[in-house]
Symmetry: C2
Subunit: 142 residues, 2 copies
């Protein structure tokens, strides 16, 4: 069984879960980064998302128009933009989490609670390894 093959059945479900937010994958990734790392410099965000800074502007414009983020300026260096998640942005992420959990429930419905627990444990260790390798040699999506 190949882990990569999981995506073949999962992709449509994930797209369906993302659709209600009306946001593009990139914009959701930006929100997730902001939730994980707190208020971040715009430049840092561009690096994380592997997006050209000039293109990040449009992404942030959309998110700002939807009141999911707020822009401010670093007081120590007013050139730097500080991007922060709004309460509304946090709620959107929570909705997304719920939708994704729904996928888990659907896909793992044939597993017992105990089996799900062991599966989650093993996957958690696996993604932890992936995350570690990501920090060493960053790549898109990490």
């Amino acid at each position: 069984m190949l882990i990569a093959q999981l995506g073949r059945g999962l992709r449509p479900r994930i797209e369906q879960a993302i659709a209600p937010t009306g946001l593009r994958p990139r914009e959701l990734l930006a929100l997730q980064h902001l939730r994980e790392r707190g208020p971040s410099a715009q430049q840092t965000l561009a690096d994380l998302l592997r997006v050209d800074p000039s293109n990040l502007v449009g992404v942030l414009n959309d998110l700002e128009d939807a009141d999911l983020i707020v822009r401010s300026r670093d007081r120590a260096d007013r050139r730097r933009g500080i991007i922060e998640l709004t309460d509304q942005g946090g709620r959107v992420l929570q909705e997304l989490d719920r939708a994704l959990h729904g996928i888990d429930d659907a896909v793992l419905s044939t597993l017992t609670e105990r089996e799900r627990a062991t599966l989650n444990g093993l996957l958690a260790r696996a993604v932890e390894a992936v995350a570690g390798q990501c920090s060493e040699q960053p790549e898109p999506g990490c």
Copy 2:
């Protein structure tokens, strides 16, 4: 732990594994379908891939130019095109399998052999459930 979150770390690796083939995801999906179901009617393939028949033509042209498939006609109904995997196509799929197995090895390197076995077992049952739901209500990627 969300299964959907797996893709965040896996996507770049999968893209990297696919890149050497020079094929697009759709074309690889077509090859996989052909391997699983044997020689198939072109129309069936279009349904499986959720692609408009007129767009499938270009996909098959590429695959045919690369000698990965062969086109023929159904003798009982010469309107119908029969698409078949070539030996070369099979070899490309095997290369892809090897690359994807490499991802498994990298991601699951921190797991013992026994843990990998149980993980594979649980995932196999999960994807089986997904496949069953796919057959009931087909969606893209199924």
